[in-house]
């Protein structure tokens, strides 16, 4: 396995003097979050903490009160505030004919604020329990409508509000069964107790978590709270992974680690209706299955990895061809504006809608995820995925095909070793039948302008994150998005972002 690359930290010098300031800053930031109602919590797992970090566990360890190498428990936390300013852009039409999913062309501001605690407890040899409560406050651009695979802030949740909401992000049990081989050190981190495990091992996970905690990890893009803002870089945009409206769900997974190979298999509960918070626990009937094979390698002395991921969802979702056929057979009744079942509220009486054809359907996809470090602190990444594109989005975003690539590096070259910079390109496409459906005025989750001149949605992003003190980062970000909602008629869109991130 590749070691997670070091994260951004300061030296240990003057830790004591800075600690008070840090706590004050963190406390103040939390207060601002809670009081001003300013803030999706990220479904992707958090970054690892380093020895140099200021955090509660390191503090205890340095006072001889905690053994980081063989933990029976740990506790970590994080705070992240992201603000995005979208500049006004050109669009010949918006929400045409009663559609509701356009990104509005006016200037807008969006934000998210999250505060998370991570608790871990060793129950018996090899068994770990984790509990992660989280608070979020958010405001999306155009109510998170109008963007397909490149939503500008990965933290946005489909069910969020400006009023801070406390929820349980994760509650799961992990059992590790060793099969021998070399010993591998697992450092103390959020959702990881410090311990030593066999290089050959079986890891079983069950409970409430995010599929992104286990599958499609990438050590270059790492923790989105430390790197890219845009959702296109968090995972495959076209992987409609089973999750509730926040990005989490209930299920089980098995990981078999065998030297340089890892095989992962998991089943997760899907939402009761597309993109809602309520989850259907009938895992024998409705589910999202994921299979991933990973190979870790060393190329020119630098670590890298290749992952192939395939998924198959068995969910109550609508097919685009059937929605079109239903509309064409009876346009006066089977249109979007006349929906009687679960629907997104389109008022377009001259468009098809998936509400008429939702039933048990399957969705398939396969993708590749490559990471390669080219120097100690600089890495490149590539993700590409192809999904069948026959059915609507059930849990993530409407993209049917996607790729993302880029580079992330730390500021070692310019004597700012804990700063992080990155540049990336993300592209996403929809299938021909999906485009035909949107072109007829239909809506799919978060896209549908009432008309469509099909094109790939793309995002170019560049960011720089400055480390202040050991545990606080300030980041600036620019995103250029073209063909928002897969529509050549609209955009391009310029978004400027800023982020405050703290770990403790």
């Amino acid at each position: 396995m590749i070691n997670v690359p070091p994260n951004v930290r300061c030296s240990r010098a003057s830790r004591g003097a800075r600690m008070f300031v840090r706590l004050l800053c963190l406390g103040a930031a939390t207060q601002v979050l809670l009081v001003s109602e300013s803030a999706r919590a990220q479904a992707a797992p958090p970054a690892g903490h380093e020895e140099e970090a200021f955090d509660f566990m390191n503090l205890l360890s340095h006072h001889g009160l905690h053994n980081l190498d063989d933990e029976s428990w740990n506790a970590y936390g994080q705070f992240t505030y992201i603000s995005s300013w979208k500049l006004a852009f050109q669009a010949p039409y918006t929400n045409a004919n009663g559609s509701i999913n356009s990104l509005v062309p006016d200037a807008e501001r969006s934000f998210t604020g999250t505060f998370t605690l991570f608790f871990g407890l060793r129950l018996w040899p090899g068994a770990e329990a984790y509990f992660v409560p989280e608070v979020i406050s958010e405001r999306g651009l155009s109510q998170i409508r109008g963007l397909g695979g490149s939503i500008q802030n990965f933290e946005l949740q489909k069910t969020g509000s400006e009023t801070p909401q406390l929820y349980r992000a994760r509650l799961f049990l992990r059992q590790t069964i060793g099969f021998g081989g070399e010993r591998v050190v697992k450092t103390s981190n959020p959702m990881q107790l410090g311990t030593t495990v066999d290089r050959r091992r079986l890891v079983l996970t069950a409970g409430n978590y995010s599929l992104l905690d286990i599958f499609d990890r990438n050590n270059v893009t790492g923790d989105p709270r430390q790197t890219f803002f845009d959702m296109a870089f968090m995972t495959h945009s076209s992987w409609d992974f089973a999750a509730d409206a926040r990005g989490y769900s209930w299920g089980a997974a098995a990981e078999l680690y065998w030297d340089d190979w890892v095989l992962r298999l998991g089943r997760m509960a899907p939402p009761q209706h597309p993109n809602v918070l309520a989850v259907d626990f009938r895992l024998w009937k409705y589910y999202g299955d994921t299979l991933e094979i990973e190979h870790d390698h060393v190329l020119f002395g630098q670590p890298g990895a290749v992952r192939i991921l395939g998924y198959r969802n068995n969910e109550v979702i609508g097919r685009f061809d059937e929605a079109i056929a239903a509309y064409q057979s009876d346009p006066n009744n089977n249109n979007a504006g006349s929906c009687t079942g679960f629907n997104y509220g389109s008022g377009n009486f001259a468009a098809p809608d998936l509400c008429w054809v939702r039933k048990l359907n399957q969705k398939l996809g396969i993708g590749i995820n490559i990471e390669q470090f080219v120097a100690k602190n600089i890495g490149v990444f590539f993700r590409g995925m192809y999904s069948d594109g026959k059915t609507e989005v059930d849990a993530f975003d409407p993209a049917d095909r996607s790729l993302s690539l880029g580079a992330v590096g730390k500021g070692t070259l310019w004597q700012r070793p804990f700063d992080v910079a990155g540049i990336g390109l993300g592209m996403s496409w929809i299938s021909k039948i999906h485009a035909e459906y949107l072109g007829m005025g239909g809506i799919d989750g978060f896209v549908g302008d009432g008309g469509l001149r099909q094109g790939p949605e793309g995002v170019f992003e560049v960011f720089y994150s400055v480390n202040l003190l050991n545990a606080i980062w300030l980041a600036g970000d620019y995103e250029f998005i073209w063909n928002p909602g897969f529509n050549r008629d609209r955009g391009p869109v310029n978004i400027i972002g800023a982020k405050v991130h703290a770990e403790f």
């Binding site: 205890l60 608790f119 406390l166 992000a169 509730d244 918070l277 309520a278 626990f281």
Partner: protein
């Protein structure tokens, strides 16, 4: 006949106005936090009372408590009873850090099931909650942050006196009957002690509760007095004495200050609890607790009956 028509019309208008007036007077009651089992801090021994047995060194505890209560809150208009909250199953996860004489803790409550029926009592209509894991897969209700301190006595002395404070951070919807929707606080005087095989604990405190729904029957009327006591027999289970079982009752309740010990504003509940616990001074210890009980005075949130189970991992670390 014109006069008859006028009378008929006038009668109709009066009847209509009366119906309208009745409809207007009937108000929808909002929900509130019906849970009256204010769990003690993780590692504190009893279900509700606090043993105040902090051992001086840096220690900690994690606790998972799962409980079910039946007919938590039902209202009657004299002719019929409406179980507004008939079933309430809740899981609570908590963590605590202890040092010296202090215990700092945080609790997160997760509703598993909260069900009930709607109905009209007097001029108020009530909607029953409908919460389950499927519709609310990640719900947490009010988070609780607290601190306890022992002021008098040692960890195992005959008499220990302490104080505790808790802050409830509101979360969720009042319609789920799991939150008041406002911040709440508690200040308590705590006492406990051990004498041979006898162990006891008690509390007297104030629940600062801004929610005042006096006009709706059976609902919160502002701040409350909290009271309670527990008495148990502590018996060694293992020959080495490293494991003990504590069996005994816990009685606790609350009464609204505005209607001090008034019959409709006072809740009183009793639990018979047993706990099996490690008694080691060092290292991780395990505690398993089980209790069953009933509402002695079933107003104001005390249920028909309740069962509670808890498992704790704790480390006292004597200094």
């Amino acid at each position: 006949m014109p006069s008859s028509s006028w009378r008929c019309a006038l009668g109709s208008v009066v009847t209509l106005l009366a119906i309208c007036a009745r409809a207007q007077a009937q108000q929808q009651a909002q929900g509130f936090a019906t849970e009256r089992l204010y769990l003690s801090a993780p590692g504190a021994g009893w279900f509700v009372m606090d043993a105040l047995d902090m051992r001086g060194g840096l220690g900690g505890s994690f606790a998972l408590t799962v409980g079910y209560a039946r007919n938590v809150w039902h209202l009657s208009d004299g002719t019929r009873s409406v179980p507004i909250v008939s079933d309430q199953a809740v899981a609570d996860l908590g963590a605590a850090v202890t040092y010296d004489r202090w215990r700092l803790y945080v609790n997160f409550e997760m509703p598993l099931v909260i069900k009930g029926q709607g109905g009209t009592i007097g001029d108020r209509s009530f909607s029953g909650p409908s919460v389950d894991l499927g519709s609310n897969p990640d719900t947490l209700t009010d988070a609780r942050i607290g601190v306890d301190m022992r002021i008098v006595g040692t960890a195992a002395s005959r008499f220990r006196l302490g104080a505790g404070a808790q802050l409830f951070v509101p979360n969720g919807n009042r319609s789920e009957y799991a939150t008041d929707g406002t911040y709440r606080g508690m200040g308590r005087v705590l006492f406990a002690g051990d004498e041979g095989a006898v162990t006891y604990a008690g509390q007297l405190g104030i629940h600062l509760r801004p929610l005042n729904d006096t006009s709706a029957p059976g609902t919160p009327r502002g701040s409350e007095l909290l009271f309670g006591a527990a008495l148990g027999a502590k018996l060694p289970v293992s020959p080495s004495g490293s494991t003990a079982i504590v069996v005994g009752p816990e009685v606790f309740g609350a009464t609204a200050l505005r209607d001090f010990f008034g019959s409709t504003a006072t809740a009183l509940e009793a639990l018979l609890s047993a706990r099996l616990e490690g008694t080691g001074e060092e290292g991780l210890q395990l505690r398993v607790k089980l209790a069953g009980g009933a509402g002695v005075h079933q107003q104001f949130g005390a249920p028909d009956w309740r069962v509670v189970f808890s498992i704790e991992a704790f480390n006292h670390n004597a200094r």
